[in-house]
């Protein structure tokens, strides 16, 4: 069965420091891959997506992610974190099987300290 794991439940970084959020998936073929961000009390916003092609994808707000097929990973990175990046981050996988669907990971909560 398809699944998505985000090993870090909560991460705290200092403002200006670099960030990497981990995401691993289990799926037999190449999936569609997404990262979403959710601020408190809000809906989810798409940060970036990978469908095919270049494995390093750029997103909004200075985020990027790299698809590594050999590791079944799609980690999210940002070189310098801003206080406004504090939020919940969800990795998601879109599976093209007999029943198309998107599976969300459990989320990583990011705190940013001044």
């Amino acid at each position: 069965a398809q699944s998505v794991t985000q090993p870090d439940i909560h991460i705290t970084v200092s403002e200006g420091a670099s960030l990497e959020l981990r995401c691993n998936y289990s799926y037999g073929a190449t999936p569609y891959l997404f990262w979403y961000v959710q601020s408190p009390g809000q809906g989810l916003q798409l940060l970036l997506k990978y469908f095919s092609g270049d494995t390093l994808v750029q997103g909004i707000k200075g985020f990027e992610a790299e698809f590594k097929r050999s590791q079944s990973s799609f980690n999210l990175r940002k070189p310098s974190v801003h206080w406004s990046d504090a939020a919940e981050y969800f990795c998601a996988v879109g599976t093209k099987t007999s029943y198309d669907k998107v599976i969300f990971g459990p989320g990583t909560s990011l705190s940013v300290i001044p």
Binding site: Y32, F34, Y36, G41, Q42, G43, L44, Q45, L46, K49, E88, F90, G94, T95, K96, Y99, D100, K101, V102, F104, G105, P106, G107, S109
Partner: protein, 112 residues
């Protein structure tokens, strides 16, 4: 701007009193989703429509129903809300069932 709109943003209902949450979209997307999200958890898919085709998740309680009268609108009906149904309810749209989703701001449901 094209968007997904959810009304109301906050809804308070009494235990057992039916409640309806609404979602509308100006994106003209084929797929509309309803998710339930509890505190510090991932969104849990309740059901989705691909055009008029309704797809219910196997573990969605019968207490939850949905209607999609046209492309733009989708409703979530909770027939007899229990205390455990208090949550954020998120509506989302997509052009395909496995593609990127566009979320509304959510409706926070409180059950008293």
């Amino acid at each position: 701007d094209a968007m997904v709109i959810q009304n109301p943003r906050y809804q308070v209902t009494q235990f057992g009193k039916p409640v309806t949450l609404s979602c509308s979209q100006t994106l003209n997307h084929n797929v509309m989703y309803w998710y339930q999200q509890k505190s510090s958890q991932a969104p849990k898919l309740l059901f989705h429509y691909y055009d008029k085709d309704f797809n219910n998740e196997a573990d969605t309680p019968d207490n939850f129903q949905s209607r999609r009268p046209n492309t733009s609108f989708c409703f979530l009906d909770i027939r007899s809300p229990g205390l455990g149904d208090a949550a954020m309810y998120l509506c989302a749209t997509s052009t395909t069932s496995a593609g990127e989703q566009y979320f509304g701001p959510g409706t926070r449901l409180t059950v008293t």
